[in-house]
């Protein structure tokens, strides 16, 4: 693996999407600001905005770096460079994850900070927030993998749809797991074995999705 080439390709995507990353950060910070007002209606509005910002950021990054690359025929330019399919796959996955992790990490930590301060008010929501935040990461990885393998707008939109529906189902399901639901109303963090198991399952799903992306890419015979 030519790591130097992978790094150059990641930096290239980072440069081309720098304004989109900044815009998602700005949108996320505004959402957090709305949540921080303390009003219940504002809390719901801010939460919806925050989730929307993260989903749109993941979908936009995946779509622009892979689907648009094929659609606008810049893929031929990139594939003419001294890279192998493995290096291209690694560069695209890493670039997408790193670009998404910037707003995701900032906004996840921001959300947890809002719940943690002032202490004792909404700290019970922190495990649920953490689990849902990682679920958004799972959903983004699915979109990235589908966009990478298919390079198709239709399939990527399908993946966005599946990821979004799954996010709502998982949210509903997690909120109704007795041990987690019990702690959500509390004023302290209650991290339960069920929460640990769910978190582990989410990270395992991420590993499976990314591994599958490499598996299917390795079997491609036509790159243009």
């Amino acid at each position: 693996m030519n790591y130097s080439m992978v790094k150059i390709l990641i930096m290239k995507d980072w440069y081309l999407l720098r304004w989109a990353i900044l815009a998602s950060l700005a949108g996320g910070v505004i959402s957090l600001g709305i949540i921080a007002t303390g009003n219940k209606a504002a809390f719901m509005l801010g939460l919806i905005l925050l989730v929307t910002v993260l989903i749109v950021a993941g979908a936009h990054i995946a779509s622009t770096t892979m689907v648009t690359e094929r659609k606008e025929q810049t893929l031929a330019f990139i594939m003419s460079l001294p890279i192998s399919y493995r290096e291209y796959t690694a560069a695209k996955l890493l670039a997408n994850l790193l670009m998404f992790l910037v707003p995701w990490l900032v906004l996840t930590l921001g959300s947890i900070a809002l719940l943690a301060y002032p202490p004792g008010k909404s700290m019970g929501l922190i495990p649920f927030t953490a689990l849902m935040s990682v679920e958004i990461l799972v959903s983004t990885c699915l979109i990235v993998a589908v966009a990478l393998i298919s390079e198709s707008q239709g399939w990527t939109i399908g993946a966005i749809l599946v990821g979004n529906v799954a996010l709502n189902f998982v949210g509903y399901w997690v909120a109704h797991i007795a041990s987690i639901a019990k702690g959500m109303e509390g004023s302290s963090v209650q991290w339960t074995p069920a929460a640990s198991a769910l978190l582990l399952a989410e990270f395992a799903t991420i590993a499976l999705i990314l591994g599958s992306a490499f598996f299917f890419q390795a079997r491609k015979k036509d790159f243009l």
Partner: protein, 298 residues
């Protein structure tokens, strides 16, 4: 073996509606091959296999000593590739692209890149989306040439260019030919462009290579003989006839094996040779394709 830049041996690739069939050719280092075919003949598929971007179903491909597609990363370090369907990033400037390519290719020649900027009348700070099609092709060519490749692969680079831009691109390519070490594969359906820069010609049609030889061999051996036959005389037997045109007593024979001795052979049968016409590469290509499609002996 070592002085072959490109070697295809029995390469096949099957698609649902198209098959590239048993392609074999060699491109010696320092030579310039014109790859001519109609749209959909298989030029781009062959070039994509050469670049490692499409995997062949059968056969072996070696480029600059590397087996393709397995060793494509190493091979592409010495290849400059420009294709008609290749685009640069619209939101970035040409200067950014130059810096991007410079960071990858150790042999990037900055003074040459700057001289090409002037020659092609390009502005480095201009964004790609603000360039015309001709300027975009020139920008892509600049990025390919300034990396000092040992092999330059050009897939229909002049398609869609206006006559002035086409002239500029071809002129620059002819200047590049001064470098004897560089090998060029130039694909086009425009035979005039290919004729100007190539020293070897390969014709491809319907996924098969139908002819391949030095350009001069094609131009020397292909002729049209305009005859006048005496009443009731049969057509003289001329070797390598690929097409019989004209009518009745005024036949026009197209041959791919012309030799001056043919003229006396024709005259000995009573025919009068009115004219022996040279053929352009385009006429040779069309006659070659038509005779192959009609299944005539060549």
């Amino acid at each position: 073996m070592n002085d072959l830049s490109v070697q295809f041996q029995g390469v096949s690739k099957k698609y649902r509606h198209f098959t590239l069939d048993n392609i074999s050719f060699e491109l010696p280092a320092g030579s310039i091959m014109g790859f001519i075919g109609a749209n959909g003949a298989g030029k781009s598929t062959t070039i994509r296999i050469l670049m490692g971007l499409v995997h062949q179903d059968k056969g072996a491909v070696r480029v600059l000593g590397h087996a393709m597609p397995a060793e494509q990363a190493a091979a592409k370090l010495d290849i400059g590739f420009v294709s008609e369907d290749m685009r640069l990033y619209g939101a970035a400037s040409l200067a950014w692209h130059m810096e991007f390519i410079r960071s990858i290719y150790p042999h990037w020649d900055q003074p040459y890149a700057e001289s090409l900027l002037k020659r092609f009348d390009l502005k480095a700070e201009q964004k790609i989306k603000g360039l015309s099609h001709g300027q975009r092709v020139k920008a892509a060519l600049l990025l390919a040439l300034a990396r000092s490749p040992r092999l330059l692969v050009l897939d229909e680079p002049t398609t869609g260019l206006d006559p002035v831009a086409r002239h500029e691109v071809i002129s620059e390519l002819m200047a590049v030919l001064a470098d004897q070490e560089r090998t060029i594969l130039f694909s086009s359906h425009n035979t005039l462009d290919v004729e100007q820069i190539s020293d070897q010609i390969t014709f491809i049609d319907r996924g098969r290579i139908i002819d391949s030889a030095d350009k001069e061999v094609f131009l020397d051996r292909w002729r049209r003989l305009r005859l006048v036959l005496p009443p009731d005389a049969a057509l003289p037997r001329v070797p390598g006839i690929v097409e019989i045109g004209g009518s009745g007593r005024l036949p026009v024979l197209t041959t791919n094996s012309f030799e001056p001795a043919m003229l006396s052979a024709c005259q000995s049968t009573g025919a009068t040779v009115q004219a022996v016409d040279s053929m352009t590469l385009e006429e040779i290509f069309v006659a070659n394709v038509q005779s192959r499609r009609e299944g005539q002996t060549v």
